[in-house]
Subunit: 297 residues, 2 copies
C-alpha cells in the first residue's frame, strides 16, 4: 500500500511492504497550504504515480489533508480510537487508478472543552508497541499533544500552545527586546527557566521575570530566549505530568531536536521519558491500512 | 508644590495645595517616548511655567521619567518603601527657576527574581489610607502589579504580563483568527473564560481551548476575545489571591474600566475588591513631596 502523512506544510509519501516496511519514500513541497485551487489529486499523482504504475492500489492519507482546509473533510472520530476505529471511519476520495481514503482526526472532551488532533492519531497507532497496556505520549510541536493510550486506543489527550506562545512572546512583546536574535541555545538559562516554572506565581508572573532579570543584568541577552523556552516548557510539562500521576515513562514522538528539549524538561520536572527512534507515521498508516475494508483488491 | 506623573506615553501635571488638593492640572502628549533628544526640561517648562511664575518652587516627578530611558535615572529603592524612604531617595535634576526632583522606582526580590515598578509606588503612597495596618493592592495595566502594603510601606509586589499577553495572543497567534475584530465585550464569554481558568491543566492548555471551542461552534467569533481575556485575567487573579491567603479586600487602583474588569475577575475567583475612586498619583506626589528635604523655600 501507499501511505501519505500530509500536513499543513509538509508532505511525506511512503510505499509500504506487507509488514509495514518502508520500500520507498518521497517528499514534496506540497503541504496543503501550498496546494492551490484544490488540486490535491494532481499533487498526489505527481508523487505516487510510479508506485501505482508498479501495482499499488490502496492509498491512505493522514493529517490536515482531512481538515476543512484540505481535500475532503474527514469528521473527527471521538475517543476512544484505535486502529480499527480509525480504519472504519476513513473517508474515500475520488482518484483515478487507485483507491484513496483519508484517516479522520480524533476528538476528545473534558470539562466541556473539546480537543482535536489530525495526524498525531496515526503516529500514536504506529507507536502502539511503546505503551503496553497503558501509557502516555508527548508529541512536541507548536501545539504539542499529550496523549493517553489504553488497550491500543487513544482514550484522551490535551493540547498545549507552548510553541506558538514562545513565538508570540519572543516576537511580539517587550520580552523580545531582551533577546539577542539567533543566539545559540543556552543550556544553563534553559535549566533556570525550567526550575523557575516550579515556583508559585504562575506563568504570567514568571514571564515578567525575563524582563526584570535582564534589567538587573542577571540574565544575558543571549540567554533570554532559552530561559523563556524553559519557563514555557516547564509550565507545560508540570501541568501534563500532574494530570497523569500514575504514568510510566513518557513516550516522546516527533522531531528529534524538539524531543530532546522535551526530554530535558521532563527530567528537570521529575519525570522520565523515552524517545521513539523510528518513524511513527508510516507505521501507523500501515497498521490502520491493514484494518481498512478496501473495496478493490 | 507641583507634581507630575510622567510615564512612557502619558504626562499629567498637577498644581497641589498645602493639603494635597488639586488646584490646577495640565496634561500633554509628552510621555517620555514622545520627547526627542532629551529635551525633558523644555517639555516640562511648557506645561508648568505658569505655576512657577505664580510662585511654585518645588516640583516632584514620578514614573518612567526616572528610568534609563528618561531624564535622569533614579535608582530603584528596595522594599520596604514608604513615603519617607522614597522622599529621601529622590534625585535632583537641573532646571532653571524651580527645584525639580524625581521619585525613584521600587524593587523587590523573591526566589532570586527581581521585581520593579516606576510610578505605581507613588499611587500606592497616595492611597495608603485604604490599607489600614496591612493590605493588598491590584493595579491593572499591560503589566499589572499586585502590591503588599504594611505599616504605610510597600513590602513586596509581583508583576503579571497579562495585558501584553492578551495583545500577543489575540494579535499574533492562531487564536486571533477565531476573533471578530472590534467585537464588543461579551460578559458571558468573559465569565466562561474566568471559570475555565480554575480547571486543572494550566494556561497553555486552556489557551488552545479558544481555538477548539471555536472549531466546534461552542464559542462565537464575537465572544472569543472576551473568553481569552477571562482566561488570562483568571489565571492572574487566582495566582495572586493564592499568594495572599490572609488578604482583606483587594484595593483596585487605576483606570476605572480596567478596574471594573478586574473587580469581576476577583469576584468570580472568590475574592472581594474595593475601588479607589480618586486620583492616587497626585495624592502620592503630595505625600512624598511633604517628606522631601527641599533645599529651596
Amino acid at each position: 500500500m501507499i501511505g501519505v502523512d500530509w500536513g499543513t506544510s509538509s508532505f511525506r509519501a511512503y510505499r509500504l511492504g506487507p509488514d509495514g516496511q518502508v520500500l520507498d519514500r518521497a517528499s514534496a513541497h506540497a503541504g496543503i497550504m501550498f496546494v492551490e485551487n484544490g488540486r490535491f489529486a494532481d499533487m498526489l499523482r505527481r508523487t505516487i504515480q510510479p508506485w501505482v504504475n508498479a501495482g499499488e492500489r490502496h492509498v491512505l492519507l493522514s493529517g490536515m489533508i482531512g481538515s476543512r482546509q484540505g481535500w475532503v473533510e474527514a469528521p473527527y472520530k471521538p475517543c476512544p480510537a484505535g486502529a480499527a476505529d480509525l480504519a472504519s471511519a476513513t473517508i474515500p476520495v475520488a482518484y483515478d487508478g487507485a483507491e484513496v481514503r483519508i484517516v479522520p482526526g480524533v476528538t476528545a472532551e473534558e470539562a466541556g472543552v473539546p480537543e482535536v488532533m489530525r495526524g498525531e492519531e496515526t503516529q500514536i497507532i504506529g507507536a502502539l508497541a511503546e505503551f503496553g497496556e497503558a501509557g502516555l505520549a508527548c508529541m512536541p510541536g507548536s501545539h504539542s499533544k499529550w496523549v493517553s493510550v489504553e488497550g491500543g486506543r487513544i482514550v484522551s489527550f490535551s493540547t498545549y500552545m507552548t510553541g506558538e506562545a514562545f513565538a508570540a512572546f519572543s516576537g511580539h512583546t517587550i520580552l523580545g527586546r531582551m533577546m539577542k536574535a539567533d543566539a545559540p541555545a543556552d543550556p544553563e538559562a534553559l535549566r533556570r527557566g525550567l526550575a523557575r516554572s516550579g515556583d508559585p506565581g504562575g506563568l504570567l508572573r514568571h514571564l515578567f521575570g525575563v524582563r526584570a532579570l535582564g534589567l538587573f543584568g542577571k540574565l544575558s541577552e543571549s540567554g533570554s530566549a532559552s530561559y523563556l523556552s524553559g519557563l514555557l516548557l516547564g509550565h507545560e510539562v508540570r501541568a501534563a505530568l500532574a494530570a497523569h500521576p500514575d504514568r510510566g515513562p513518557v513516550v516522546l514522538i516527533g522531531d528529534p531536536k524538539l524531543c530532546d528539549l522535551y526530554a530535558q524538561a521532563i527530567a528537570v520536572c521529575g519525570g522520565v521519558s523515552r524517545l521513539v527512534n523510528y518513524e511513527a507515521a508510516p507505521a501507523g498508516l500501515h497498521r490502520i491500512g491493514a484494518s481498512v475494508q478496501w473495496t478493490s483488491v
